[in-house]
Amino acid sequence: MLQVKNLVKRFGDKEAVRNVSFTVERGESFGLLGPNGAGKSTTISMICGLLVPCEGEITVAGIDARKNTTTAKRVMGVVPQDIALYPTLSARENLGFWGAMYGLSGKELAVRVDEALEIVSLKDRAKDRIDTYSGGMKRRINIAASLLHHPELLIMDEPTVGIDPQSRNNILETVRTLNQERKLTVVYTSHYMEEVEYLCNRVGIIDHGRLIALGTLDEVRRLAGEDTTIRLKAARPSEQMAAALRTVPGVRTVRIEEGALVVTVPSTAETLAPLMVAAGSFKIQGVEIEEPNLEAVFLHLTGRALRD
């Protein structure tokens, strides 16, 4: 559905996107993860025709998006990071306007507007002005506006920025439904790794304009190592305690951190019980188990936390 090959974008001397390549298959939900300023939005802007790449190729549904930009735009639905709606118009008027921008008119437009409102569960507020909506509701209309023309590819640029957890869950559910039930191909950018892990089958991690990891969720997680981290909180962790834990079968490493003994194991199920027995004589105040995640991958690959 989407092929991005050797994409480069420079702003003056600054290279914002450096040789980024990835593909997204039809029906897939692809996550583009990275911290703020990593180059996610610039990449998305080039895909949806808002920015002209300096180098590289973009193919959308078999269409060369650089040569046939207008045709490619008809296939894509774009949910921008900003709430790009007219606040003094009602939701229905806004959707009518955005549908018209995709060439819809008359009865067909009215039907599509109703359908989009249904998807985001805001049909009962259709006549209300956008400036009377909550942040989460605005975000949902922002999504609805990108669905009117029945796109094959939905590109979502950080669609949950600045909203409450409940609205965020609602949006994630909507996106998941669109992908899984309506078979819509989704490209989802975020700096929230939980969202990407929840929604996406495949993921690309971008940092300083460069794609530093690409693959399925499991493939990418393994980049940080396959081990689970068990953090045993202790008032005064000592080398003696660490040595005792190293003798437990299945334990790969033990290191001392402030207030904790950090143990890595390949399998929590097999190792946790004997580990707790071995630690029984110490004054353990708590246990935290960290499965490998994208946050850890990012930390592993860049030495920085994702939200730094």
């Binding site: 894509m76 921008p80 003094t88």
Partner: protein
């Protein structure tokens, strides 16, 4: 073209929903037209200032002209007795031209006259001294004395100017012709009329333009430019909010988007003009002259204003900066073009500068139509405004497209 119209319609609808903007763009000009029309009406519509009270004390004694030594007595006997004080009061202050600005009453006692000034019942008191005629006819310096209200120096100066002119005139006349007669009085009145601050709207037309008409056109023009500039801010705000980008990620070209914005600007300004035109007609009974001509001119000016607004959107980046600076520019345009003070009060240099401002051409065009000039006087302002609109709109479109 459909998308261009939809974008324009969207801009118009959004403005129609903005109550604050509607108050500023429609209600405020209507109120200002009413206030300025009423306030300046006396000056403009009456053909001069409103008449104000002046008290005169004439102590002058008639006299004969002083003759050079050696003049035969029979010549001296033939000289008429001249009463210049009486002449000043009857022929000068009592003339139709002066009566339009001065309400003259006479007093015999100077102290009583001064009391009237102190009490605010007269703007000033004029005192014609007993030797006025004798001094003037004798070639000596003399003057009508004036006791004015210190709080009203302008009108006192006006009266002083009339008295001074008369004194100089009769002194010169008596020296030159040895006598002052009806011809000199008529000559003086003619010259005095030219010196009076007779504020009238001078156009080449056949109808007099009233203050309410003048300010209807002037305020409509000023606020149309304000609207166009506020649309510049709106376009920048749209850019900031991401709606322009969203239009561009749809299969809508940049050209369609920009044309839609320009057309939207023009539609808004034109709608504003239409409402103000009809509103002033209904509320103040303002005659805009030939309606077809005024609508043509209004359309040409709407194009110019839309072009300027688009150029501002292209030049500025930040909506707040645009809002602040275009507000100032709009006021300068208005002041220069005569929207605030009639342009014929301007010095020549400013009148020349005004010709570089589109508001000037629109105002002159409307005044021409209001004064009854025909359609032949329409083409120049329409052509200039149309050119301004196309050039500035083109520059704005180019700048917006390159952003």
């Amino acid at each position: 073209m459909r998308k261009v119209l939809i974008i324009a319609w969207c801009a118009l609808t959004r403005l129609a929903r903005d109550k604050k903007a509607l108050i500023i763009l429609l209600l405020m000009p209507m109120v200002l037209i009413g206030i300025l029309g009423a306030a300046i009406g006396n000056m403009m519509d009456g053909g001069g200032l409103q008449a104000f009270p002046v008290v005169v004390v004439n102590a002058d004694q008639p006299a004969k002209m002083a003759l050079p030594p050696g003049t035969p007595p029979e010549v001296a006997d033939k000289l008429p007795v001249t009463d210049l004080g009486k002449m000043f009061i009857n022929d000068i202050l009592g003339s139709q031209q002066v009566k339009e600005i001065l309400e003259v009453t006479t007093e015999t006692d100077l102290a009583a006259a001064k009391d009237l000034v102190t009490a605010g019942k007269a703007v000033c008191a004029l005192y014609v001294p007993p030797t006025f005629s004798a001094d003037v006819l004798g070639g000596k310096a003399s003057a009508v004395e004036i006791y004015g209200d210190p709080g009203d120096p302008t009108r006192t100066q006006l009266v002083a100017q009339i008295a001074r002119s008369f004194t100089e005139e009769v002194t010169t006349a008596s020296l030159a012709a040895q006598v002052i007669g009806p011809d000199q009085v008529q000559q003086f009145l003619h010259e005095t009329e030219e010196q009076l601050p007779n504020v009238t709207v001078t156009t080449a037309g056949t109808k007099r333009v009233k203050a309410i008409q003048y300010y209807s056109a002037a305020m409509a023009i000023m606020f149309m430019v304000m609207t166009a500039f506020s649309r510049a801010k709106d376009i920048l705000q749209e850019r900031h909010d991401g709606t322009l980008a969203r239009i561009l990620v749809s299969p809508t070209s940049k050209a369609q988007m920009i044309m839609g914005q320009i057309l939207g600007n023009m539609a808004i300004v034109l709608a504003q003009f239409g409402i103000l035109m009809i509103g002033t007609k209904l509320l103040y009974q303002v005659s805009w002259g030939n309606w077809a001509a005024s609508i043509t001119l209004g359309t040409a000016f709407a194009l110019a204003a839309a072009g300027i607004g688009t150029a501002a959107a292209g030049i500025f980046d930040d909506p707040r900066t645009a809002d602040a600076l275009t507000g100032v520019i709009g006021m300068i345009f208005a002041a220069l073009s005569g929207s605030m003070f009639p342009i014929y009060l301007f010095p020549e240099g400013l009148k020349l500068v005004a010709k570089f401002v589109p508001n000037y051409w629109a105002l002159q065009g409307f005044l021409d139509q209001m004064s009854g000039l025909g359609l032949s006087y329409l083409w120049l302002p329409v052509a200039i405004l149309g050119t301004i609109g196309l050039v500035t709109g083109g520059v704005g479109a180019w700048r917006l497209a390159s952003k």
